[in-house]
C-alpha cells in the first residue's frame, strides 16, 4: 500500500482563485481556504473537500467581500439572468454557440493578421531605420550591386547593412543528396553588423558579428525563433552543433529573439553572413566584382532628419556608384521608413487588406450579435410584465437596463470563453489553409487575447443595449394588464425588422464574396493561357547573381542548350529570361494615347515561340542571326497589336511612340499568359535575348515530362558539377497560380457558410417568436373566415419583408465592395450576375424556409382553441 499523500486543493480551482482580484486580502483568504480544505479532507474525504473548495472559490467570484453596491447588484443580476436563461435553454445555447463560433473565427483571422502583419519587425528603435534604394532618372531601383553597397558603406556617415534572401536545402546530418532532397528553407544573408545593429538580443547563444562576415571565417548561422521552435524542437543544445545547408556544414551559433523578424515580410529559417553566401551555392568568394545584388538597410543617425540623411547618402551614392547601362545613372538615394510593415510603399496595400479582412470577420460577428440581440429582445418582451412590475415598484430604468446588459454581457463572455477553446483548433487550421510559412510564429500573444476579450465584451454589450432600450421604453401600465404581451399588435416591431434586415444584408455580402471567389477559382482553372503547359519543363539557375563574365556565361548556356536538345524525348528547347509562372518577369510601361499601358517583356531565342507552342499570326519570328546580332526587331502579341494598331497592319511599325525605342515590329504571335493569372494581360513584347546572365531553359518534352527530368539534371551536372539548377514543371507553376484564388474561395466560403447559418438561425428564431405572439390574432382572423392559406400568406409576407429590404441593401453594399477586390477576381466581372444571382437565390430560399416552418405551424392553430384560451 502506498502511504497516503497529503492532498492539495484542485489545481483548476487554485487557478480560478488566483485570477480573482482580492487585493491585500489574498494571503489571508488563500490561507483560510487551505485550512478549511485540510480539515474537510480529514472530516469529509478528499473528493468532497475538493468539491467544496470549488464551491468556495465560485462563491468568492459571485459575491463581493466588502465591495461596492454595483458588484453585488451585478452578482444578483447575473444569478437572475442565469435563471432566465435556463427557461430558454435551447435558444440561448444556439445563440451563444453561434456567437462563440463567430468570435473564434474572427480571433483566428486576427491572430493570422497579427502574426504576419501587425506584430512589429522586432527591430530595435524601428523609427530610425530606413530602407536605402537607388534613385534613378524615372524612378527607383530597389536593390544595389554588391560593389556599390561596399563603396557606399565605406564613405557614408550613417550605418548601412546589406541583406539578401535566397532558398536553400536543410538537413540535420551530412547527406550527399541533400542538395536535392533536403527540406527547403528560407535564408537571409546579412552583413556582419545587421543583427547587432538592428536586432533584439538573442534568445540563445549569440547573433552574427562582423567577424563572421569576413572572408574565410568559419561558416556560422543563427536560427530564427520560428524555425528553431518548430523544426529544431526548441532545443537549446543546438547551439554549437553542425547542420547542413545545401550539403555544406555550418555551425548554429544562436537563436534570434521571438519578436525579431527582420525587415523582410516573413522571418527566414536562418540568418547567415553574406560572406558565406557563395560557399553555400558553390560560387567563388564574394568580391567587388561579384554581380550579386543586395538590399540595403540603414539607420538615420541621431539628430539628423530622414531628408538630411537622404541628401547626404545620396551625394555619396551619386559620386561612387558605377553606372548601370540598364537603368541609367544613379541620381541619389531614397530612404523609406523600414521599421513598420505599414510604412513604405506597400504600407497602404497592407492597410487595405487588413481593413477588408477585419470588415468581413466583423460582419460575421455582427450577425452573431444580432442573434443574441434578437434573443434578448424576445426575452425582454416576454418579460415586459416582470419589468413593468419592477418599474411600477420604483426600480430605476437605468437599473433595469443594467440587468439586461449584464445578462447579454454574460452571454458574450460565455461565448468568448468557448471561442478561446475553439481558437486552439481554428488557428492551426487557418494557418494550414493559407499555407503559412513554418517560420511565422502564430502562437497567440497578449494582443490576440485582448482582441478576443474586447470582441466578446463589445458583442455582449452591443447585443444587450438595443433590447434593453426597447424593453424599458414602454409605459408602466400596459405590461401590467394580463393580456398585454399578446395584445401587442400585428407586424414584427421595427427593432426586430431592422435586426433581420441587417442579418440578411450582412450574410448576402459574404455570400456574394464567396460566390465571386468560387467563380474566380473555377475561371482560373479554365483560363486559356494560350499554350499547353503540360509538356513543358523549365530549368532555372538557383544562384542567379554570381557569374564569372558575360562571355563565359553565354558559352555555358549555349552548351547546356545544345546538350539538352540532343536528349531523347526533347523535341525542342529554348532560352528565355524568365520561364512561365516562375514568379519572375519583366514588364515594360508603354504609352497608349498618353495613358500608361503595361506589357510583359520577354527576351528569348528565336525558337522560343515553337517551344512554348505559340502560333505566328502575321509576319515572322526573329531569326537566330538576328538574336546573335541583337537586332532591333520585336515580335508582339495579338492583344498588343489590337490595342495599339486596331484595324492596321502592325508589321513594320516602329515602337518609338510607345517606349521611345527604335525597334521595329516584324511579327505577331498568338496570345499567351505566362505571368500571374489575375492580371490576365496578354499584351506582350518579345525581343531577341540580350542579357547573357541567368536565363532559363524552356524544354518541350515528348511523353511525360517527369521521365525526362532526371536526364536533364544529369546533363546540367555533367556540364559543371558546381552549378545548381532548379528544374520544375511549368504545369505545376500554373497550378500554384490557381492556388491563390482557391485559398480565398475556401476562406470566403467558410465565412459565408457560417454567416448563412447564423442568419437562418436568427430569422427562424424571430419568426417563431413573432408568429407565436400573434396566435390570438390568427385565431380571431380565422374565426372571422380567413383561410389557412390566407394566414400563411400574411405571415410569410410580414416576415419576409425585412429580409427583402436587407437583401436590397446588401446587394448595393456588395456591388460597391466587389469593386474593391476586383484585383483578385480572375476572369470574373466584379458584378458577375451569376455570383450575385446565386447568392441572392441561396439566401432567399434559406430565409423562406426559415420563415415558412414557424409560419405554417402558427397558421395551423385551432381558432376555437385560441378563442377559448382568451
Amino acid at each position: 500500500m502506498t502511504p497516503p499523500i497529503d492532498p492539495a486543493p484542485p489545481r483548476l480551482a487554485r487557478l480560478l482563485l488566483r485570477l480573482r482580484p482580492l487585493g491585500s486580502r489574498r494571503a489571508e483568504v488563500t490561507a483560510d481556504l487551505d485550512e478549511i480544505f485540510a480539515e474537510r479532507v480529514d472530516a469529509e474525504g478528499a473528493d468532497r473537500a475538493a468539491r467544496r473548495y470549488y464551491r468556495d472559490v465560485f462563491s468568492l467570484w459571485t459575491l463581493n467581500l466588502s465591495g461596492t453596491r454595483l458588484a453585488s447588484d451585478a452578482a444578483h443580476d447575473l444569478s437572475h439572468g442565469l435563471r432566465v436563461f435556463r427557461r430558454n435553454a435551447g435558444a440561448v445555447t444556439v445563440s451563444v454557440l453561434g456567437l462563440a463560433l463567430a468570435i473564434a473565427v474572427s480571433t483566428a483571422v486576427f491572430s493570422l493578421l497579427n502574426a504576419t502583419l501587425l506584430r512589429g519587425t522586432g527591430v530595435s528603435d524601428p523609427g530610425s531605420t530606413v530602407r536605402v534604394m537607388r534613385a534613378i532618372k524615372d524612378g527607383i531601383a530597389t536593390e544595389w550591386p554588391y560593389a556599390d553597397y561596399l563603396t557606399m558603406r565605406e564613405h557614408a556617415r550613417m550605418p548601412i547593412e546589406a541583406s539578401l534572401v535566397d532558398g536553400a536545402r536543410y538537413t540535420a546530418s551530412p547527406n550527399a543528396s541533400s542538395v536535392d532532397t533536403g527540406e527547403p528553407v528560407r535564408m537571409t544573408f546579412v552583413g556582419g553588423g545587421y543583427l547587432t545593429g538592428f536586432g533584439a538580443p538573442p534568445l540563445h547563444g549569440r547573433v552574427l558579428q562582423p567577424v563572421d562576415d569576413l572572408p574565410g571565417a568559419p561558416p556560422a548561422v543563427v536560427a530564427s525563433y520560428g524555425f528553431w521552435s518548430r523544426r529544431l524542437a526548441a532545443d537549446p543544445t543546438i547551439i554549437g552543433r553542425q547542420i547542413w545547408l545545401n550539403g555544406v556544414a555550418v555551425t548554429v551559433v544562436g537563436v534570434t529573439a521571438r519578436s525579431f523578424t527582420g525587415f523582410s515580410d516573413q522571418p527566414p529559417s536562418f540568418w547567415a553572413p553574406l560572406a558565406s553566401y557563395p560557399a553555400l551555392y558553390s560560387g567563388s568568394p564574394l568580391t567587388r566584382t561579384s554581380r550579386v545584388e543586395v538590399r540595403v538597410y540603414g539607420r538615420v543617425p541621431p539628430g539628423a532628419t530622414r531628408t538630411q540623411a537622404e541628401a547626404e547618402l545620396g551625394a555619396v551614392a551619386a559620386a561612387t556608384a558605377t553606372p548601370d547601362p540598364q537603368i541609367g545613372p544613379i541620381t541619389g538615394v531614397r530612404l523609406d521608413p523600414a521599421g513598420s510593415r505599414f510604412s513604405g510603399s506597400e504600407g497602404a496595400v497592407l492597410v487595405a487588406v487588413v481593413t477588408l479582412v477585419l470588415t468581413l470577420v466583423g460582419l460575421v460577428v455582427l450577425l452573431a450579435c444580432v442573434n443574441v440581440a434578437n434573443l434578448q429582445l424576445a426575452s425582454a418582451l416576454g418579460r415586459q410584465r416582470e419589468i413593468g412590475v419592477r418599474l411600477a415598484l420604483g426600480a430605476a430604468r437605468g437599473r433595469i437596463i443594467r440587468q439586461l446588459v449584464t445578462e447579454s454581457l454574460a452571454l458574450g463572455i460565455g461565448a468568448g470563453a468557448i471561442a478561446l477553446l475553439l481558437t486552439i483548433w481554428l488557428g492551426p487550421m487557418l494557418a494550414a489553409i493559407v499555407r503559412l510559412p513554418v517560420t511565422v510564429d502564430m502562437t497567440p500573444d497578449a494582443r490576440v487575447y485582448l482582441f478576443l476579450t474586447l470582441v466578446s465584451i463589445a458583442a455582449g454589450v452591443g447585443a444587450g443595449l438595443a433590447p434593453a432600450r426597447h424593453g424599458t421604453g414602454g409605459d408602466l401600465l400596459t405590461p401590467l394588464k394580463e393580456e398585454a404581451p399578446r395584445a401587442a399588435s400585428g407586424r414584427p416591431s421595427r427593432t426586430r425588422s431592422v435586426l433581420i434586415g441587417v442579418q440578411a444584408a450582412a450574410s448576402l455580402v459574404l455570400l456574394v464574396l464567396a460566390a465571386l471567389m468560387t467563380r474566380a477559382t473555377i475561371a482560373a482553372t479554365q483560363v486559356d493561357v494560350g499554350f499547353d503547359p503540360r509538356p513543358l519543363v523549365a530549368i532555372a539557375p538557383t544562384f542567379g547573381g554570381e557569374r564569372a563574365d558575360a562571355a563565359k556565361t553565354k558559352a555555358f548556356w549555349d552548351l547546356a542548350l545544345e546538350r539538352v536538345r540532343s536528349l531523347p524525348n526533347v523535341p525542342a528547347a529554348s532560352l528565355t529570361l524568365y520561364s512561365p509562372y516562375s514568379g519572375l518577369g519583366a514588364t515594360r510601361e508603354l504609352k497608349r494615347n498618353g495613358v500608361p499601358y503595361v506589357a510583359y517583356l520577354h527576351e528569348t531565342l528565336d525558337d522560343y515561340f515553337s517551344t512554348l507552342g505559340l502560333r505566328i499570326v502575321r509576319g515572322r519570328a526573329y531569326s537566330a542571326a538576328e538574336v546573335q546580332a541583337h537586332a532591333g526587331v520585336v515580335v508582339i502579341s495579338e492583344t498588343l497589336a489590337r490595342d495599339f494598331w486596331p484595324g492596321q497592319d502592325p508589321l513594320g511599325q516602329s515602337l518609338a511612340p510607345l517606349d521611345g525605342s527604335t525597334d521595329v515590329v516584324i511579327g505577331v504571335v498568338s496570345d499567351a499568359i505566362t505571368a500571374h493569372l489575375h492580371t490576365r494581360t496578354a499584351g506582350a513584347l518579345y525581343r531577341p535575348l540580350r542579357s547573357p546572365e541567368a536565363p532559363s531553359i524552356l524544354v518541350r518534352t515528348a511523353g511525360p515530362p517527369e521521365a525526362v527530368i532526371p536526364a536533364l539534371r544529369d546533363t546540367m551536372h555533367s556540364l559543371d558539377p558546381r552549378v545548381r539548377v532548379d528544374i520544375s514543371m511549368v504545369a505545376s507553376g500554373l497550378q500554384n497560380e490557381v492556388e491563390e484564388p482557391r485559398i480565398m474561395a475556401t476562406l470566403a466560403g467558410a465565412l459565408a457558410a457560417l454567416a448563412l447559418g447564423l442568419a437562418i438561425v436568427g430569422i427562424y428564431g424571430v419568426t417563431t417568436f413573432v408568429t407565436g405572439q400573434r396566435t390570438r390574432e390568427i385565431g380571431v382572423r380565422m374565426a372571422l373566415g380567413a383561410s389557412r392559406g390566407d394566414m400563411l400568406r400574411l405571415l410569410l409576407r410580414d416576415s419576409l419583408r425585412p429580409v427583402a429590404i436587407g437583401l436590397a441593401v446588401g446587394a448595393i453594399v456588395s456591388l460597391i465592395g466587389s469593386r474593391l477586390i476586383a484585383v483578385v477576381l480572375y476572369g470574373v466581372g466584379a458584378s458577375d450576375p451569376l455570383a450575385f444571382g446565386s447568392a441572392v437565390g441561396v439566401l432567399l430560399v434559406s430565409a423562406a424556409a426559415a420563415v415558412f416552418i414557424p409560419a405554417r405551424r402558427a397558421a395551423r392553430v385551432d381558432p376555437a382553441f385560441v378563442l377559448r384560451q382568451s
Binding site: A27, L63, G67
Partner: protein
C-alpha cells in the same frame, strides 16, 4: 439588509463571532454557522457577511499573528463591537416580545 439593520445570515454570522470569543477568524465562523444552521455555507458568503457587518460597524477586524498551523500564513481576526452586541440583543428582544405575544394568544 439596508442601513444598520441585520439580515438573517448576517445575524447568524455576528452571533457566531460573538460565540467563538473575541479572537476568531473566518474558518471557525464558517464551521460554526454551518453546524448551527445545518446548511452548507460557502466561504464567499461568510466573507461577504463579515464585510457587510464591518461596514455597518458591528464587527471590527485586525490582522492576527501568524501561527504554525497555517504555515505562517496571516489570518484576519474579528470581534464584535458594542454596537453589534446591542443590535443583536435588540433583535433578540423584538423576537422574544413577538413570541411572548403569540404564547399569550393575542393577535397583533
Amino acid at each position: 439588509m439596508k442601513g444598520d439593520r441585520l439580515g438573517e445570515f448576517e445575524e447568524f454570522t455576528l452571533l457566531a463571532v460573538r460565540a467563538l470569543g473575541d479572537q476568531t477568524y473566518a474558518v471557525p465562523v464558517q464551521r460554526y454557522v454551518e453546524e448551527a444552521t445545518g446548511r452548507p455555507v460557502s466561504m464567499g458568503a461568510i466573507y461577504a457577511a463579515l464585510g457587510r457587518l464591518e461596514d455597518k460597524g458591528f464587527v471590527r477586524s485586525a490582522m492576527g499573528e501568524a501561527t504554525a498551523r497555517r504555515g505562517g500564513k496571516p489570518k484576519r481576526l474579528f470581534r464584535v463591537t458594542p454596537v453589534g452586541v446591542k443590535t443583536a440583543r435588540e433583535l433578540h428582544q423584538v423576537r422574544e416580545r413577538i413570541w411572548n405575544a403569540i404564547a399569550e394568544g393575542r393577535r397583533a
